[in-house]
């Protein structure tokens, strides 16, 4: 157990946004929410997965919606705590811990804020080891854990609880409610026992986020290469460096979808890259051929500062580097690929691990 006192939040949010692979929400908004909550309610206890008792009642918290909207419609701060309280009502038990279901600028920080507000310990883990656009795309789904009972809450005060027949229906109903709530909602879902946390979550995510964010900051300060520093920590590799020449985006069915085109610079001059995204980057094609694809991580970083660039922040003229990094091994199983591989997203290429 250690404490998150606030000082580590900028690094943690930066690292989380790298794992967010373009989605998982804006790191700046997430950091502000977590900082404000810690300032008001005091430090958050961060506990390792092994410290969690098997019979713990772990109730995750997150935000659902199009990141494009979350940038402009800042959460009020009560959405996730109200969602968690609704889940407690539906399960008839009080939460003993909270945890992140998704690494990402916002969705790693929301549970920090919720933990501070509710006085709950936060588990050093997450449910994906990255960000994914749909809520059934969680490692616990592979382990048979149900997303519901779940709850959604908006900034106006509307709160909604859901028992779905399966995680696909949980996604479908929650998505339609999120859209009606204005494309963003605080959510709480995937209630886990401590045993299930040990079996199904990715361990050490919050600590990894912090290390990653710190390495990027220190490399920038030392005028060494922050992109390489990030790639090293992720056991990934640089697949492209270039300039953004076009971004096509649309908010569709509650998702931010689109494509970004890059023109190569330096070693990559004369080559082109296309990034396709749905909240997160899904596929990176170099000169038309797939080089990185879901479920592996496609991390887009500002070439100079190493700052992670979310899909909604991508703009013409930005100089960015694209890092491909391996996903959690469980995503590479047939079941993992069926849940969040290329075919699920409508692509016909065969997944080749980074």
């Amino acid at each position: 157990m250690r404490e998150i006192s606030g000082r580590e939040l900028p690094d943690m949010a930066r690292g989380a946004a790298v794992l967010g692979t373009g989605g998982g929400g804006d790191p700046y908004v997430g950091r502000l929410l977590a900082e404000e909550a810690v300032r008001r309610h005091g430090p958050v206890r961060l506990v390792a997965v092994d410290e969690v008792p098997d019979d713990a009642v772990v109730v995750p918290t997150a935000f659902m919606g199009a990141p494009t909207v979350l940038v402009e419609k800042v959460p009020s701060g009560t959405e996730t705590t109200r969602a968690l309280r609704m889940v407690e009502e539906l399960i008839g038990r009080r939460a003993t811990h909270t945890v992140s279901i998704e690494a990402g600028g916002l969705n790693s920080m929301i549970p920090v804020a919720a933990a501070a507000e509710l006085g709950l310990p936060l588990i050093d883990a997450d449910g994906m080891g990255r960000a994914f656009p749909e809520l059934q795309m969680l490692l616990p789904t592979l382990g048979g854990v149900a997303a519901s009972p779940m709850a959604l809450a908006d900034e106006r005060g509307n709160t909604l609880g859901l028992r779905a027949v399966d995680n696909g229906w949980a996604e479908r109903l929650a998505r339609t409610v999120t859209v009606e709530m204005g494309c963003s909602a605080g959510i709480s879902l995937y209630v886990l026992t401590g045993r299930q946390v040990k079996d199904h979550l990715v361990r050490g995510t919050m600590t990894l986020c912090e290390r990653l964010g710190r390495a990027i900051r220190q490399a920038t300060d030392a005028h060494t290469d922050p992109v390489r520093a990030a790639a090293d920590i992720l056991s990934g590799r640089l697949v492209f460096t270039g300039k953004v020449t076009d971004v096509r985006r649309r908010t569709e069915g509650g998702f931010a979808r689109g494509e970004a085109l890059l023109d190569g610079l330096g070693d990559h001059a004369g080559h082109g890259m296309e990034l396709a995204f749905q909240n997160e980057h899904l596929v990176a094609r170099r000169d038309g051929g797939v080089v990185v694809s879901v479920p592996d991580l496609i991390c887009v970083l500002d070439t100079d500062s190493g700052a992670p660039v979310t899909t909604e922040a991508l703009r013409y003229g930005m100089r960015v580097s694209v890092v491909g990094a391996p996903c959690d091994e469980r995503w590479r199983t047939p079941e993992g690929l069926a849940l969040a591989g290329p075919a699920y997203f409508g692509y016909d290429h065969v997944y080749v691990p980074v």
Copy 2:
């Protein structure tokens, strides 16, 4: 208190469909559900409003959705009971009674079925004295009663609970969920105390439905005029008799919307009527001028048999009679008209009571 043993259900469903003013669901489906439930679980106790203790926990049940869909997608029978159980969870109390929120072929019968299945007494009343398309259009709304905590359930097993900030948001979120559930859902909402039942509901609706349905049947059997028999019981008047020459319909935002055109017959030969509907008939125009309008009742009956014709059953060539009947006095107040008068539905005519 008296018992609904099953024999009275055909009359009751027929009368309810007259009060349903074209909406409130198909009387045949409603009758089948209620008959089946009574056959399986035994008679239902029907209690008068004055028999309900002030501290009773009254949890209404209904179906939400486009009637067009309900005709084809017959409820499984567990939707409303699951919705009521979810409301009980949200309020932390058990229901002592159920009641209809809306008179209509389906929505008067659903509470009969729910009462049989749950072993609850049914109150002889409803929340509108007619049917209306949106769930905030209830007399209890005028009395400040909240629609939520409410719940929705579909035939697959998905169940959803909702605490909305106001009845408008309850309608908005419930409607979007209903559409995603396939345009129909069992619902439970507007939890009332016995005191509120006495203050805000329309008394004696189930008994009125039965009288109305019986009068129509007896008039048909006796070869007297069933339309006049219905109009007399409703203190209404015949405003048109004609033949349906055109029906335009569309399912839009979870509603069945459209217009029906009639060519006059008999005394009305040479004249035309247009009926505009949104689940229910909203406005009846004769030769272009409004003759009956919400919140008053526009009841369309088969001219020969007096059988109520729902908006989704209207077909070219049908010979129908249109009866205008006065609504509950509370709908005629400024607050009542603001909630369910012509202006709310986008019409600019002034309401002139029947």
